[in-house]
Amino acid sequence: MKTLITTFTSSVMFAAALSIAPMTLAAEADKTLRLAYDADPVTLDIHEQLSGGILQLSHMVFDPLLRWTQDIDFEPRLAESWERVDDNTMRFKLREGVSFHSGNTLTSADVLFTFERLKVSPDFKAIFEPFTELKIIDDYTFELITSEPYPLVLNAMTYLFPLDKEFYSGQDDKGNDKATITKHGNSFASRNVSGTGPYTVTSRQQGVRTVFDRFPGYWDTQSPGNVGKIVMTPIKENNTRVSALLSGGVDFIAPVPPTDLDRIRRDANSQLVTMSGTRIILFHLDQQRFEPFRDVRVRQAIAYAVNQEGIVARIMKDFATPAAQLSPEGYQGYNPDLKPRFDVDKAKALMKEAGYEDGFTITMMAPNNRYVNDDKIAQAVAAMLAQINIKVDLKTLPKAQYWPEFDARAADMMMIGWHSDTEDSANFFEFLTMCPDTETGRGQYNAGNYCNEEIDALVTRANVETDPDTRTAMLQDIERRLHDDAAFVPLHWQDLAWAARKNVQIEPILNVMNFPYLGDLVIE
């Protein structure tokens, strides 16, 4: 029987890589990081699934063209510079002298190969849908062309991690194309990997441990990172993960459950880093299922009845930021004027005005293992609505059973959490508030069936507005309109937390997107 441990980088490849970049093996990269996440990446094919785990892997084994900084700005990585040629074209200059783990050198052809693969990946194609073409100018210059002016070209490029074209071309030993993206089963790309990133995958036993070694030929010799080896163990159980850190079994854990924050703060050998997150948790009010929700006064009454600050303080133990809109602070669309509007008297008055003084009964569904404290939040909201005579028939389900119910729009109020893949406000609107349309895929997660064509038109216009200031004003206006119309009930943005041993300097490498730049990690 063959063992699960597969060696991905043969010594031959190493030798080749060394001969190309002979001197860059940082002598000081000798520290080992023992890392525990709640799950390990499903696959080594970074185009197979768009998920947090895969993006974390992407930043370890690959490099993007550009990446986000801590204050949600762009930082050049494999793209050295870029300029807008005209409304529909952006020209990028690629970094020279970058080599893949296989020893091949990065050129525009690799970027084109990656771009084309992303265009057919079920998970990523939506992000790259606005781009019509990637035109190669020379080995280190290429142009990205959109069909109409597109403001989020750079946002999308944080998802382009160039793949090694030569490595992924041809046929594997079963005669399948090496570049095939398979959602299930055993493809070449899901087992073998060659990127430009700081780490190579040395051994991998799925669900048990993955070992990464620093790539000796890594291009970024300016990186302060001194970690030569990473041992990643998935630890699913929250308590076990925290115990592993406190007992010194691992050096770095994420996520940290809110119930254990104090335990880690009290520990002399550990440090805790928290950040206000960008994932919004909200309830939709389904207008198609439940007729009274079509009345704006009823929706507003519910919006006034829900006490976001109370939920954050009592249930989330202040480990969240109360929300009155979709965009978190730092996003273009964040409208600083919008504040949580808890006011039970106002809510009661609105119910009376709408003719529902005696209330009504609705159904509500929420997951119970998807978001932090999701079932408790749902119970709290149900109790809050009881104050304005709305009886809530609540059902909470494990996530595996919840999503099919969500797709079927099986309750009048349904909970969802959403993180914008593009780190841009428009993504929230496209998926959560635009009129549902199966043709375009708009409003795919709009379980409220809320439909306001005026606002939709504004979103469409904002999506082709390339002037940042004008666009900001437009997106903020949309947030205000949605707020006034009480299109949904926003609750909060979940905070993020990481914890590590004191000597592991995690703070500079963390970001709100939750992909730690482990290549730059320094261990004292």
Binding site: M1, N186, T240, S243, P404
Partner: protein, 349 residues
């Protein structure tokens, strides 16, 4: 003998068939496997297409027929998450679980026999009462609580300061009750010794053994009291029987009477219960493995459920069913060896 084995194989087939039917029937309640396979922003159309590729759109009967046809040829499908044949996935995880069960069984065996025998020989001794009291507590604490307490005490460590530190006895008590921690709290460690096939063992290196200790103790904690009580009760009964009295009258050494003559007959029912309990223990490992992130089949199964990895769930249930049938068969065979009057084949003795 052969007839007996054939009968057992036929029984096993029936058990597996029923299990596969049941696990297939409940799969609708386990949720949509696609949610774990694709990102949130994937369109409904794409989802339909993948569902079609996986054959999830076919009626349950068609799906079952397809599954059964392959299963008869030894193919139990491919796990959605691991992308590998389910049997291979289970075989890769099985050694970890078996080692845990072996570790726990050793602890149970080497503690329950002496304690049980002692408690039967000296039922009124203070120590016996103490053991019986502790075993009541042990049996009523859930496994995961034991595990968490063990981790806190021996992995993280506790510092006790309730006694006055400036007095000598207070300092001594504080010291005595505080623990240093340092035991590994998760996983099997990296010092595994490959044995054969996918079996990498933690029994042959010091660090591997260290990783085994806490999980084995917590897994043993639930069964140990049961066995102590069982052995004590059986032994008490055997000690009352005529042949023991005769042996005593004959003037045989008490040690010889207790450990040779009495113990042998005591062990008969213990073996039966033990065999069944080993099967049950495989099920109990789910809790222990979860708390210790022990990469065995229990943890794998629990994760398969949260991921709706249906082929893996079905295969696991069938393999566990098979393990139960096998252990029961083996127990019956051993029983025959220990007690020649037991007749397996139904022939006249």
């Amino acid at each position: 003998m052969l007839a007996f084995l054939i009968k057992r194989v036929a029984q096993a087939m029936l058990v597996m068939f029923v299990i596969s039917l049941v696990s297939f029937a409940i799969q609708d309640g386990l949720g949509d496997p696609l949610q774990e396979l694709v990102g949130l922003s994937v369109s409904m159309e794409e989802r339909q297409q993948i569902r079609e590729e996986l054959g999830l759109n076919d009626p349950l009967v068609v799906q079952y027929a397809r599954f059964a046809g392959k299963a008869l040829r030894g193919d139990l499908g491919v796990s959605y998450f691991y992308g590998e044949p389910t049997v291979e996935v289970i075989l890769n995880h099985l050694p970890a679980t078996l080692e845990l069960v072996i570790g726990a069984s050793l602890i149970i065996f080497f503690l329950s026999v002496p304690i049980g025998v002692y408690a039967a020989i000296k039922p009124r001794a203070l120590l016996s009462r103490f053991f019986m009291g502790v075993s009541i507590v042990g049996i009523s604490i859930p496994v995961f609580l034991t595990a968490i307490v063990l981790i806190q005490l021996f992995s993280i460590g506790v510092t006790v300061t309730v006694f006055p530190e400036d007095t000598g006895w207070g300092h001594w008590l504080n010291e005595a009750l505080s623990t240093n921690g340092g035991m590994p709290s998760y996983g099997r460690g990296d010092a595994l010794v490959p044995l054969f096939g996918t079996w990498e063992s933690g029994f042959f290196s010091q660090r591997g053994l260290l990783h085994l200790i806490l999980p084995s103790i917590s897994l043993a904690s639930i069964m140990l009291p049961l066995f102590i009580r069982l052995i004590r009760a059986e032994m008490l009964e055997v000690l009352q029987s005529d042949y023991i009295r005769f042996a005593q009258a004959k003037g045989l050494a008490p040690r010889r009477i207790h450990f040779l003559h009495a113990l042998k007959n005591t062990m008969l029912p213990v073996i039966t219960v033990g065999g069944v309990q080993v099967g049950t223990m495989v099920a109990y490992t789910i809790l222990t493995e979860t708390v210790f992130q022990w990469p065995g089949v229990g943890l794998m199964f629990l994760e398969a459920i949260t991921r709706s990895d249906i082929p893996l769930i079905v295969a696991y249930l069938m393999v566990v069913g098979l393990i139960f049938v096998i252990t029961n068969t083996v127990v019956d065979l051993i029983y025959g060896l220990v007690n020649p009057t037991v007749n397996l084949t139904g022939k006249k003795a």
